[in-house]
Symmetry: C2
Subunit: 162 residues, 2 copies
Amino acid sequence: MSHACGHDHDHVHTLDSGRIDARLSEARRLCEAQGERMTAPRLRTLELILSENAPVKAYDVIDRFHPDGAAKPPTVYRALAFLEQMGLIHRIESLNAFVACQGHADGKAVQPHAAAFLLCDCCGSSEEVAVSLPEIDQQASASGFETRRVTLEARGLCKACR
Amino acid sequence: MSHACGHDHDHVHTLDSGRIDARLSEARRLCEAQGERMTAPRLRTLELILSENAPVKAYDVIDRFHPDGAAKPPTVYRALAFLEQMGLIHRIESLNAFVACQGHADGKAVQPHAAAFLLCDCCGSSEEVAVSLPEIDQQASASGFETRRVTLEARGLCKACR
DNA sequence: ACTGTTTATGTTATTACATAACAGATACCG
DNA sequence: CGGTATCTGTTATGTAATAACATAAACAGT
């Protein structure tokens, strides 16, 4: 996880394990509430993503999945697809990576939702922000375009790295 | 180039070759004006991207590069990076593809600029629209984040496909 | 409980996307 | 013309993602 600034920022675990457990339980409840199954590989995948405070590559999850040796890619990619559908994680397109959703920290159930991200090119950190998009909505309807999903990612330098 | 709707929309050449030539000459001029070289592989890459009215995959360019046989990936990826720096094409992150810039149709020289895209999941077409992003700019400065580059992509259905 | 159905996982293999590293060629500048 | 910077060619490899099919677990109806 080496970045443009030349630093390494590996394994910055800001969430303690208690906090992670709480979010895993919350995720469990959210799945039950929707009649979906929170299975072992899905839970493990979510755990690994929650344990980083920055977007995580699919193959990092694959490598760390088992204590001894990697998981098979489809196992993890299927889990990632599920978690994304449930609104528990987001895919960061410009990084080919995944980050835990920060949009329902208060425990509210949320529909899969669009979100914007501030992504630091130096330390790799990610901040999720909520924005409305009146201009592009307007441009879309002016073109007769029906928007299903919006990707909005700002790349740059976070406060700490500037 | 098969899409969600089940149709194939291969090789929809909406720009006639005269129009493409005009844009290639324009690109040449733009490079000269900035002291950059518009070399053969760069021109060929741009030509192939201009010949589609939808985002083109890097390996499609690679495959079509020579009349008989493919180019080597680095040749094309280098050309793509150059053309993007020059603001002649844009990378579409959510598609891993590249599309010609539609933002300077009047011949004005343009700095590399952010742009938003309406991307049809059915026919694969792309429309570039100009939007300002007051909300995310505001959120970024509130967080002390310095934005360098913004990706804004709306996926959905275009007018024709609805 | 049995059985059919649905949903999820395991496994092998392959496909798609992208870059590192170095050698050779071409443009540009004094 | 010779040195330097830039670009291209080539080989090899690294990284990201999915197809296809086999197996297993959950669940609903009888």
